[in-house]
Symmetry: C2
Subunit: 391 residues, 2 copies
């Protein structure tokens, strides 16, 4: 495994000036190498993707919005191969450093974007989140990072993985910058920070390491004290979160094979073993498995509607642990990925916005507390984060 010095792609940086004036004038941003920049191949973290796809003729929608708002592109960043990976390693381009936890994985797949923001090299960075790819590196690198409501931020010009899960999100080191970018990417002024109540999902907290759960609890209690009180609930019946995780995996992988299978059939591309193995498993998913997984998705949607549609916000740990060390064997990495996937699946299945807040720390390493709202409540989550940060 290589270890590049920053999360930027190796070689000359791709830079573009932002519009001369605008709400983000003076800010710099990076874009995960899954976002199109006109005139430059989108690499997707895989050595064969770029050379087998046409050079994009237009900027991705999110890139275009940031440039038009005055932010300048400072470079493209390393991603897990074709967005498949949650821990942040890449066997071809190297694993970006985690500035908040040296010697540890950054989380992924938006690994480079989180890394360059955490290192202070840019003010914000675009990532994608299908199964946790913004939320997880935000948690492990100590950043604000949002998975938006499905469809809320344009995904045009994005290397597609799983359309019913794919979102475009972003990172920032502080809630104010995060909110400024939110207004541009959401196209909406931040509303008042309000919530009817704060729900703490005990079954989700029980899946985290005890020290992580303990480190996040005070922030959840502060949220509750400020926004209508803290109520302890369970998202599902005993064992149900794990089952949602496995069924989210079925749905996402089946969609990923629909996205990538034709390319693989034509080009037999190169991958790290674990990526190819997971794609092969995706190819083997049956229509019946997908139908069963859709039932689980409907059940999760029903639960989310009941809990959140009235204006509550939900707290869960973003990740069950802090950044794992580099150099772990594959079976250990697989086990860690599976544990993360159980926590990220609720928002993915339901299409909810989930914002990870850098409010926990264990042994000097960050871990994030996530707040989730009903669909479309992205700006309100950003407003709540800003209000909480303002004290």
């Amino acid at each position: 495994m290589q270890h590049p010095e920053t999360g930027f792609l190796p070689g000359p940086r791709l830079t573009l000036p932002g519009a001369p004036a605008g709400p983000l004038a003076g800010l710099s941003f990076a874009a995960k190498d899954l976002f199109d920049v006109a005139g430059t191949p989108t690499g997707g973290g895989n050595p064969d993707w770029g050379r087998t796809h046409p050079v994009p003729q237009a900027h991705a929608g999110a890139v275009e919005r940031l440039l038009a708002a005055g932010a300048s592109l400072a470079g493209k960043t390393i991603t897990c191969e074709i967005s498949l990976g949650i821990l942040g390693f890449n066997q071809f381009f190297g694993t970006p450093p985690n500035p908040a936890a040296p010697g540890c994985l950054p989380g992924g797949s938006s690994s480079g974007s989180a890394s360059v923001v955490a290192a202070g090299l840019v003010d914000t960075a675009l990532g994608t989140d299908s199964g946790g790819s913004v939320r997880v590196p935000a948690s492990l690198c100590g950043l604000y990072g949002l998975r938006p409501t499905l469809g809320r931020v344009p995904t045009t010009g994005l290397l597609q993985q799983a359309p019913s899960f794919d979102t475009a999100g972003w990172f920032a080191r502080d809630a104010i910058t995060f909110g400024r970018v939110a207004e541009v990417l959401l196209g909406e002024a931040l509303p008042a920070a309000t919530a009817t109540e704060v729900l703490l999902a005990e079954d989700a907290f029980a899946l985290a390491d005890a020290e992580v759960a303990a480190a996040l609890l005070p922030a959840a209690e502060r949220l509750g004290a400020r926004f209508g009180g803290l109520r302890r609930i369970s998202l599902g019946e005993p064992g149900e979160l794990a089952a949602w995780g496995s069924q989210r995996n079925i749905l996402q992988r089946a969609e990923s094979w629909a996205s990538f299978g034709g390319w693989i059939e034509q080009h037999n591309p190169t991958f790290a073993f674990n990526v190819a193995r997971n794609l092969a498993a995706a190819a083997a998913i049956t229509p019946d498995q997908v139908e069963v997984a859709r039932i689980a998705r409907r059940r999760a949607v029903d639960r989310a509607r009941l809990l959140l549609e009235g204006g509550a916000i939900l707290c869960i740990p973003t990740t069950p642990f802090t950044a794992p060390p580099l150099g772990l064997p594959l079976s250990a990495l697989d086990a860690l990925s599976a544990r993360i996937g159980v926590l990220t699946s609720f928002a993915g299945l339901v299409g909810l916005p989930q914002l990870s807040l850098p409010l926990g720390q264990v042994g000097g390493k960050p871990c994030g507390l996530s707040i989730l709202g009903w669909r479309g409540q992205d700006a309100r989550l950003a407003a709540i984060a800003a209000a909480l940060a303002a004290g």
Copy 2:
């Protein structure tokens, strides 16, 4: 897919002079990049193998024998990744040309060795054959190529795939050169060319394209006329060859996972999709599947003993078709590989020597007729090939 100009590894050639005198003085040879050469990393056709393994301190046994006999090493050659592949493509190092069928695959996994011999760049070249990796490129490139009896030629210093299948073989353009190398690698003077009779396996011929079977029949008849008469037999009951093929695959893959699984667990290496997918399938093979496959192996051994132990030789097509064109999609490549595997499995299951003779041609492209004898009859097969070539 890259297309290098020759089958040699890219970069500076690894050369070594042979002993000043010896039976092979003046001959040049190449070695598949699965054979150790002291002081140089063995690459194994995969970008991660060499850097994660110690540099060999000694030559592979077969390399040592050729050098000691006076042959000079002219370079190392491209191989399918860690010997897994039968058609000869390599997504990292490129697919060696097939000089006998331009624009077509060379066959593999000893693709580069066959290519450089067929191109006249060397007199002979070392390959390995676990599931057909000498026989198949010999057939598709129009060469003499032997899979020796299991254990007959030393496999020390070879990148191990599946120990109960792994053999070290070689290629030559003519039967005389082939026989000279045989005497050195087998450590035995060629005996008289004799056989009690020649068996033509009708069930094996039925698996080949009709034009390939028709192109090979005259050579089989010439063999029969010269060596005790041609008798038409069936190796197995109807459908049994295909079942031997699937069970050989189970056994070989299970052994390949035992060879490579630990390395994969530690390094999560990069592979072409099809190689990783097949390794993932290998990892999923159960002990019960292996036990069932061992039954099939015992049955094949019984059949081979009955047919060949008395001194007969057996004729089958080496491959069911001539060299397929470059640029096929993965599902087509998979289907071709599966068809080949049915024909190569008998020798692999039983540990028999199988020598492919370049005696067929269809549409200007070569195809090989294979002769098989009982275990240990390698030198006699070489003698028969020389006698037949002498007319």
